[in-house]
């Protein structure tokens, strides 16, 4: 599997660390209530198909990257710096 780092270009999957679903970028408001916070902290989808993950270019430039990929066919559709996606 190859992942395109927005900074470094296409790199081997070995250089990346997988963090998990990209929910960390959608943090609820502090007063959103216990249900919203419970979902944010504990609940994750487990999709067979398209998913958005956070990956860390650990062995490369050190950027956090949002990767949209398919868990069934392993195709990577797009990558974006997390700092941009969060804005």
């Amino acid at each position: 599997m190859r992942i395109t780092c927005p900074i470094c270009g296409e790199r081997d999957r070995r250089e990346f660390y997988y963090q998990g679903a990209a929910v960390a970028l959608d943090r609820p408001a502090p007063d959103a209530g216990p249900q919203a916070w419970d979902d944010y902290v504990h609940l994750r989808d487990n999709p067979a198909g398209r998913t958005r993950d956070l990956w860390f270019h650990e062995m490369g430039c050190g950027a956090w990257i949002v990767v949209e990929r398919d868990t069934v066919i392993h195709e990577v559709y797009s990558t974006e710096l997390a700092e941009k996606a969060a804005r």
Binding site: I7, R14, G62
Partner: protein, 179 residues
């Protein structure tokens, strides 16, 4: 009183050569990381320019032997053998002189040796002189810069210097044996 003896990271390990390629240690007077603050990229670039070594773009290194500015990751540049005057308030500046080991791989077919250790295309057609990359050498995170047609400088965490030398020795012997 205890008298401390300064040792370089690869002391007693290098240099050596196999076939056409040699591996030797490079000692810079200092290593300093420069991480420009948000919005200060341009100001930092001006300081670099005034000092005579242009600020390297992503994936590039500037300067010459003994004095280099190397792109060192997202928002970070490593000054090797260069001083960092005039960056107060513009960038986070950290002395890293004792954190890294630097080696030079030199000789015909040097890229054939790196091809065994690095998951990145370092062929001279795509990875030219002055190009640099953060990647890995086997399992160790590294910075690799092509400083000449057949010359690379590899920077690795100091604590892994012995392992790096060991990995290179295996790869260099194997490449030499096949020629």
């Amino acid at each position: 009183m205890v008298k401390l003896v300064a040792k370089t990271p690869c002391e007693g390990l290098l240099p050596f050569s196999y076939g056409t390629v040699s591996l030797s240690e490079v000692t810079y007077d200092s290593l300093t990381s420069v991480a420009p603050f948000v919005g200060k990229n341009k100001a930092v670039a001006d300081v670099f320019k005034a000092a005579g070594t242009p600020m390297p773009a992503v994936g590039r290194a500037t300067g010459k032997d003994g004095q280099r500015a190397i792109w060192f990751g997202r928002g970070q540049i490593l000054l090797a053998g260069l001083t960092e005057e005039g960056l107060e308030g513009l960038a986070a500046v950290t002395d890293q002189s004792d954190a890294w080991a630097v080696v030079r791989l030199e000789g015909e077919n040097a890229d054939a040796i790196l091809a065994r250790l690095v998951p990145l295309d370092l062929d001279k057609g795509v990875f030219k002189r002055g190009h640099t990359a953060r990647t890995q050498v086997q399992h160790m995170m590294a910075s690799i810069t092509r400083t000449g047609v057949q010359t690379f400088e590899i920077i690795i965490m100091q604590s892994m210097a012995r392992t790096l030398v060991h990995e290179f020795e295996i790869a260099m012997k194997a490449v030499a044996a096949r020629r």
